[in-house]
Symmetry: C2
Subunit: 227 residues, 2 copies
């Protein structure tokens, strides 16, 4: 299973630089640190399941957490992928509702958990926490909208190209960068079957993209931007 513990020095530091805590005043940070519980998860461990009463807020310290929904006959659709520093959006349920999706460790991961009742108590006393949560959710809603429109407007190679451009963070010049996770995870995030991602990569070779393992070399970012 997974070990539960109070945050140590390393975890405190990671938490402090996370999206949620970074925006808070010192007192709110202290209050949140007080209730934080660190857990270490093996790959494939489930954090919570869709439909369960939501009682914990989750924040990723290391590794990646895959959030997905199931259909009646067991097929899965990834809706978001969270990495170090990310607040897991599907676990922000202040009104006593239920998780909207299932969260699973895609690889061995370290996470911070916060009791939602207590988070709500703090948020009711300290507006900076509530505002920070609203901001985080607003950003995640924007990402979800982007995924939706991406799915509906772009083909597989286009989605991959956009992903690469968004993540290599370089304009004009050729670059290399390393995929932060397995290709099958990336495929899920982009709403593709692994085979489709593979084909997209090989089609992008003619646009200057070369892949070996997790290493991606982008020869001509401009060409990618144009298709």
């Amino acid at each position: 299973m997974n070990r539960l513990m109070k945050p140590g020095a390393r975890e405190r530091e990671t938490l402090l630089s996370s999206g949620l805590l970074a925006a808070l005043g010192v007192e709110s940070v202290a209050a949140m640190m007080e209730i934080a519980v660190i857990g270490s998860l093996p790959a494939r461990q489930i954090l919570f399941r869709e439909g369960e009463p939501a009682d914990l807020l989750h924040c990723v310290l290391s590794g990646y957490i895959r959030v997905y929904k199931l259909d009646p006959d067991g097929r899965e659709a990834d809706v978001e992928l969270y990495g170090p520093g990310d607040l897991i959006g599907a676990s922000v349920v202040l009104d006593g509702g239920r998780y909207a999706a299932t969260a699973q460790a895609a690889e061995p991961a370290l996470i911070a958990r916060f009791d939602l009742k207590r988070v709500r108590d703090i948020a009711n006393r300290r507006p900076d926490l509530a505002v920070a949560l609203a901001n985080a959710l607003s950003a995640q809603l924007a990402k979800a909208f982007a995924s939706l429109s991406n799915d509906r407007l772009h083909t597989a190679p286009q989605r991959v190209a956009r992903y690469l451009l968004a993540h290599c963070s370089v304009e004009g010049k050729a670059t290399s960068f390393r995929l932060p996770y397995q290709k099958s995870l990336l495929a899920g995030k982009l709403g593709l079957a692994p085979e489709a991602l593979s084909r997209a990569f090989s089609m992008l070779r003619s646009y200057g993209v070369n892949v070996r393992g997790r290493l991606v070399h982008i020869g001509d970012p401009e060409a990618l931007r144009r298709l």
Copy 2:
């Protein structure tokens, strides 16, 4: 263009029962009412565009607002549709960022606008507002996740069937209900071309669904649930 005015009795009442204000304490309600500006919009009027600096929060009083994203060559993908009482999620940007999508009146509509700077000021003093915003966003994120997984897991007739079941709110027995908006809007919301929606409806005839205009009769909800 659109007329701006202070909320009258009717508008105040609608606002009070809206998702956002309903959860607030009396003082926060008063503070929000204070800064509310009512606008009446003709069909097709744009409320805000993707990428513009976000300066207003929007809440629908009547009519429907379509929120969509554009791709480089002008095609549109609907990401959400908001009706009476809904807070427009893409306009909740407390951190001074930009709108993540474009909002357009799908039909003549009445909306309430709130200056975001002032909303932020209130939220920083009154946690109930910030918490209410977080709750609203969390619910919208859940809806966005549902749309994403729906797109990825279900065919057009399945999506339509699920929409009908979710909106007729009846278990077991046959029912009729009226679509709240045009079929082309529904098609957009479901991520379909209008033609595909039309075909889905005609395929669902063999499952007991009959459509005339906006009136939908569902003969056998159980049959729909099974596919």
